[in-house]
């Protein structure tokens, strides 16, 4: 446990130092991994801890991105626009979507969350004021006291700070008494009900927390790219996060971050050789599901544990 913590700390320092050590492309890659790592961790809270296989997590990612884009462009380039408003919008949407979706489970839950996210996508795609299919370009980065976020290394540390915040907060949540209840729900929902747990309330709370953090990740994505498009809301965005969680190892938090690194790393590596990189990625995913269902982190633990 202590050595794992040391390893994580060393990794963090290394990632923080990247802009001073390597060129701009790997740094961009690292930032993308951090942002998608936050997104994948937020999905892991639902998938790995509360047993909710949501196929609609892109709704909150995209919503956070759009709200941040609108607020940063049109209102004020502040932290309120970059963090508070996207998080609040995603939380509110998560409350509504979650309230309706957790009434069902299994395949119906998957279908319902998928349908909700596709509604968000269709709404953005057809809204002129949201730039329709093009989305919203020219999203400025916020101005923080004395910090120039247009400088690569400052923006890098800014994203890393959000990443650490999300990781620490989620790690705290899953170990709290609340997190233990979620584990119980994941393990045996029916028995939890029989014991007197109002299971739906716990699931809804987890859903809202996951949505909120996904919204923050979406806001960072908009700031990172300088634009947001309907693609962020599309179901493939949810699918990619699902792959990251599965490849990395659901129910571990750190696993999905590894999954995001593997996914984005492979994507950048393979896409320079072949247009059909998704095929290879698909094959890798199938391999994981068949031979290492506990994911990268599980594999690493198996090796370490002997």
């Amino acid at each position: 446990m202590r050595s794992a913590r040391r390893l994580a700390l060393a990794g963090l320092v290394a990632v923080a130092a990247l802009p001073w050590l390597v060129g701009s492309y790997p740094v961009k890659l690292a930032q993308e991994i951090l942002i998608w790592g936050i997104f994948a961790m937020s999905l892991d809270l639902l998938m790995g801890y509360a047993g909710m296989l949501s196929f609609g997590h892109s709704a909150f990612f995209g919503l956070g991105g759009y709200v941040a884009a609108l607020a940063l462009r049109g209102w004020s380039p502040s932290l309120v626009s970059a963090l508070v408003l996207p998080a609040a919008a995603a939380a509110a949407a998560g409350l509504v979507v979650g309230f309706l979706s957790i009434r069902v489970s299994g395949v119906y839950f998957i279908m319902l969350t998928l349908a909700f996210s596709q509604m968000f996508y269709a709404a953005a795609f057809n809204a002129e004021w949201l730039g329709a299919s093009d989305g919203l370009p020219g999203v400025p980065r916020p101005r923080l006291i004395g910090l120039d976020l247009d400088r690569t290394e400052v923006f890098h540390l800014y994203i890393l700070a959000f990443f650490v915040l999300a990781l620490v907060a989620l790690a705290r949540v899953v170990r709290s008494p609340f997190g233990r209840v979620l584990r119980g729900v994941e393990d045996n929902e029916r028995r939890m009900v029989a014991l007197g747990y109002a299971v739906r309330r716990f699931k809804l709370a987890a859903f809202v927390v996951g949505a909120t953090i996904a919204g923050v990740a979406g806001s960072l994505e908009a700031q990172f790219n300088g634009y947001i498009s309907p693609e962020a809301l599309f179901w493939t965005t949810s699918g990619e996060a699902l792959l990251m969680v599965s490849i990395g190892g659901a129910g571990t938090l750190a696993g999905p971050v590894l999954g995001a690194a593997a996914f984005i790393g492979l994507q950048s590596l393979l896409s320079s050789y072949t247009e059909h990189w998704t095929l290879i990625l698909g094959a890798a995913f199938i391999g994981f599901v068949l031979w290492a269902p506990e994911g990268l982190l599980g594999l690493a633990r198996r090796e370490a544990g002997g």
Binding site: R183, N188, V193, A194, L195, G196
Partner: protein
């Protein structure tokens, strides 16, 4: 005589054309230990499901401590002080035995909604968990994953989970199902040692257990109460012999 703790009023539950339970009325006093016996398909487990709210009655209703509980969702019924164990062990397989008991003991705790609260200490250090574990004979097995316990231990854990919620009424569905004679004897001792404040309703096939533990016995047959009374009286009832005791060879 005081009001009964549990009162079932003409409970009926139909599944399509089949009436699994047909107008069952039952009164159980506080502190009583009541055995429910009857052949397979008599409606015993359905009766439990109707009491706990896992099924809703087609007709009739259930009163607990003077208030109607039919129509409440199962978690709300549990919060009123009714707990049950299942015929097939229904524990949290991937959690330790201690964590199983703690989850049960913590149902309804306010801290469950404190998302950023510090992680609780290991379950095996909790006094409530240790007490229940001791009562069901699992004091030394708290750190074992529930799925790895032996069959007998899993049955003890099943009882422990039901007990850990500190119920006023405990519904036990065949606590000795699938147990060896030695394990059964152990379970009988555990049940006999339960505090009297916990009112018990026990579905059981093991007649020794029934006649050792029960204050009164109700016999269900084809979804109806065939006989009810003191164990000795029920044992001597020729109708009971005909449908159950004589035919099954379990007496």
């Amino acid at each position: 005589m005081s009001d009964p703790l549990l009162r079932c009023h003409a409970l009926t539950r139909r599944f399509g054309a089949l009436a699994a339970l047909n107008g069952v009325s039952l009164e159980v006093e506080a502190r009583e230990r009541r055995a429910i016996i009857g052949p397979n398909g008599a409606g015993k487990t359905t009766l439990f499901d109707l009491i706990t709210g896992e099924l809703t009655p087609s007709a009739g209703h259930v009163e607990f401590a003077g208030r109607t509980i039919s129509g409440l969702p199962p978690h709300a019924v549990a919060r009123r002080g009714i707990s049950r164990s299942y015929q097939r062990t229904n524990a949290f397989r991937h959690l330790t035995a201690g964590e199983n008991l703690r989850l049960a003991a913590a149902a309804g705790a306010r801290e469950n909604f404190r998302l950023l609260a510090a992680p609780p200490p290991p379950a095996s250090t909790s006094a409530a968990v240790r007490e229940v574990a001791h009562a069901v004979g699992l004091g030394a097995r708290l750190d074992i994953l529930a799925g790895r316990l032996s069959h007998g231990e899993q049955r003890q854990l099943e009882l422990g989970i039901a007990l850990a919620t500190r119920p006023r009424l405990l519904l036990l569905d065949e606590p000795t199902a699938g147990m060896s004679p030695a394990e059964t004897q152990r379970m009988v001792r555990l049940l006999a040692a339960l505090p009297r404040e916990v009112t018990c309703l026990i579905i059981e096939h093991d007649m020794d257990l029934v006649f050792t533990l029960a204050d009164r016995v109700s016999v269900l047959h084809h979804g109806e109460v065939l006989a009810e009374g003191l164990p000795a009286a029920v044992r001597g009832d020729p109708r009971v012999h005909e449908v159950y005791l004589g035919s099954g060879g379990e007496a």
